[in-house]
Symmetry: C2
Subunit: 407 residues, 2 copies
């Protein structure tokens, strides 16, 4: 367990990043076949370690990671079957074959089926089950029961693709750096338009369109099935309830705390930035929770470095809140990872017993929620380096920088 | 098997709808507790028939149908447990409790868990497993493997909620009528702006914003987690490949066939309309496939009535194409249903052996796809009545009405 700091608040932890191939230059070109092969090799190495002869992936994010093909989940199954050696096979509806061919990167054997549903002999199960030659078959934790039941062999639940995705490749780091630049830019625009009366629906509409326009300008072939943009904020009166966006006509008002939320996935890679901000003035009651959140946040940034135990980082961060008397006002973990998905493993969360490695991404976002006062949470997207971490999103973080002038 | 008609084309089938409580008036108010209870009673009756003591639902559309609470799937599980008698229990992350309370309709016992992941004793599994008292437990075909493994008791894969959803309640019919009005209105707007050079990205942006604006004007509390709007078209050169939207800067051009596609889910209920249309003139090679598609479509509209076997309707429709020499140019079934989801069961598809009932919805959309000529498909949303069906979407359907003047 790490000691809890209390004195040296508001000092950024050191940001070393030597020793890894990390350029932090934004990248928005599609992956090469070599990049995809690197990822498949990681998955094959894990399959080897876990004694798997085949792996079955239906999670659209796992399929995207290994093929560059994105799909939304609907009634027609898309199933990727990875043998430990050789070309992956992709069971898809015949209707989607040209779509798969237009996006896929890397070798892929397409195994079409007629339609869902289909007559006996022409169903997805008829295409799927002959792809196995016996042995041990790994399946995802979120594998749909009907796919699990149709999978022959000795089946084991294990998340090898999710595990392979935890440490990003240099290419992926560049893609996430690009997303971090876009969310930071949009956050600055939100702060520039902030004023009493600004409705969430209007800010969201204007800034989401601007962000998707910028993406399409940079990447005209951007895959909208792998794109989602959330630009939102919560005004005081709502911000203590961090997943409450029921009333999108809620408006900013003098004072605070407001909490901004920008979480996007741009053509397959995500980033997130959030800030607790005020209009005109900071209510006296908001100062102590803000400072406690900042203390928790700086501790998280200091502790989120290679070698640390993820659950222990969250416990140490929670202890800052507990010591300040806010132990009953916590609603979520310190961090989720981000990459192909907006929320993905690993997590800085009590009970999650894993060690941080270089090349992992985290949102650092400890928060405290006080009914009658509001919510206090910043979120940044960071990458862990050889010796520490680097914050990739940019916005003011202190009370001065986040108390915006009234018009 | 139904005989294939060939003579009396272009004559709408009769549209009787007596004998059911169908007003076809649009509805956009949220469901009442009585409406939700009616649905739960249907599910309980199916559970009784199938000998189930509990049912486990994680599919967000099934949860929405039974609670009015919408969620997107992410790493934090939301699991609805329905006992055969008594109040449903809903396992949710603590963070989401106020969100659930803000949307849920009907009695619901909320069973929160700390967070995902969480320390032993505070995980979702710790909240979930004590909810069962032995007996037979039904689970969905798409139940995630990790939820299935955590479910105690004698587990059976069976889709009781999906089955209950197939026949719509009078309230649901009104909701889908509302969605049909919106997609028909948007389709008319798309036809009005159609001209050579109009890009899919521009048409989609303008018309999606207009449709969501209209929804928020009608329903300021509309749930955007239960809303999705697709307004797209394919120009000739792409329309033979019906799921190809890779290039969103593709533009309309003189001639055709273009295919429009408007599929939406507005605050929880969907509708769909699609048309094959031309700018200025109809290429000679397009006339025969268009007429064959129309013949298939009218046969489908004639056959899609209570008592018909769903698979046989599709077989009869496909036979129209086969007889015309297009048997090798079919890519999909005649129809999917629509309701809480944009694509849902039941299906008019060969191999799907079920009988049509009054109160079911179908998209009627047989299509034929000819590389070098284009795609030919109209889609309408229909409801089956006591004696036949009623088309709820509105747009011209013949070559005259769908050959738009050049500017």
């Amino acid at each position: 367990m790490y000691p809890v700091r209390s004195g040296d608040r508001y000092a950024f932890p050191p940001q070393p990043h030597q020793g890894m191939d990390m350029s932090f230059e934004p990248v928005f070109t599609p992956p090469t076949a070599e990049e995809i092969e690197t990822r498949r090799d990681r998955v094959r190495a894990l399959m080897d370690q876990r004694g798997l002869d085949y792996y079955v992936a239906t999670c659209p994010d796992n399929v995207f990671y290994l093929t560059n093909f994105a799909n939304y989940v609907h009634e027609r199954p898309f199933i990727l079957v990875l043998p430990r050696n050789g070309t992956p096979r992709f069971v898809v509806p015949k209707l989607e074959v040209p779509h798969v061919l237009s996006r896929r990167v890397g070798e892929l054997e397409i195994v079409p089926y007629r339609e869902f549903p289909a007559p006996a002999g022409e169903t997805w199960i008829d295409s799927f089950t002959p792809l196995f030659g016996g042995g041990v078959v790994g399946v995802e934790s979120i594998c749909p029961l009907q796919v699990y039941e149709a999978t022959p062999g000795d089946r084991r639940r294990t998340d090898v693709v999710d595990d392979a995705r935890m440490v990003k490749t240099p290419y992926e780091i560049g893609r996430i750096v690009y997303a971090c630049e876009r969310v930071s830019e949009t956050h600055a625009e939100l702060m520039a338009m902030a004023k009493p009366g600004l409705m969430a629906a209007d800010a969201s509409g204007t800034l989401s369109r601007a962000m998707s326009g910028r993406l399409l300008q940079d990447v005209p072939t951007a895959n909208l099935l792998a794109t989602s943009i959330f630009v939102l904020f919560q005004p005081p009166g709502v911000s203590h309830d961090p997943h409450n966006f029921t009333d999108i006509f809620m408006a900013m008002r003098e004072g605070g705390p407001h909490v901004s939320l920008i979480n996007c996935r741009l053509n397959g890679y995500g980033a997130e930035i959030e800030r607790t901000f005020f209009l005109g003035s900071v209510p006296e009651a908001a100062k102590r929770p803000f400072e406690t959140m900042m203390e928790a946040r700086y501790l998280a940034l200091e502790l989120a470095r290679p070698g640390a135990n993820m659950g222990e980082v969250d416990a140490a961060v929670n202890a800052v809140f507990e010591k300040a008397g806010y132990g009953g006002n916590l609603l979520h973990r310190t961090s989720h990872s981000i990459g192909v998905t907006g929320h993905e493993a690993p997590f800085l969360a009590e009970g999650y017993d894993r060690e941080i490695e270089p090349g992992m991404f985290y949102t650092i976002e400890p928060g405290v929620y006080l009914d009658g006062i509001g919510g206090f949470r910043h979120s940044d997207t960071i990458v862990t380096t050889q010796d520490g971490n680097r914050i990739l999103t940019k916005a003011p973080d202190d009370l001065d920088g986040l108390t915006l002038p009234l018009p």
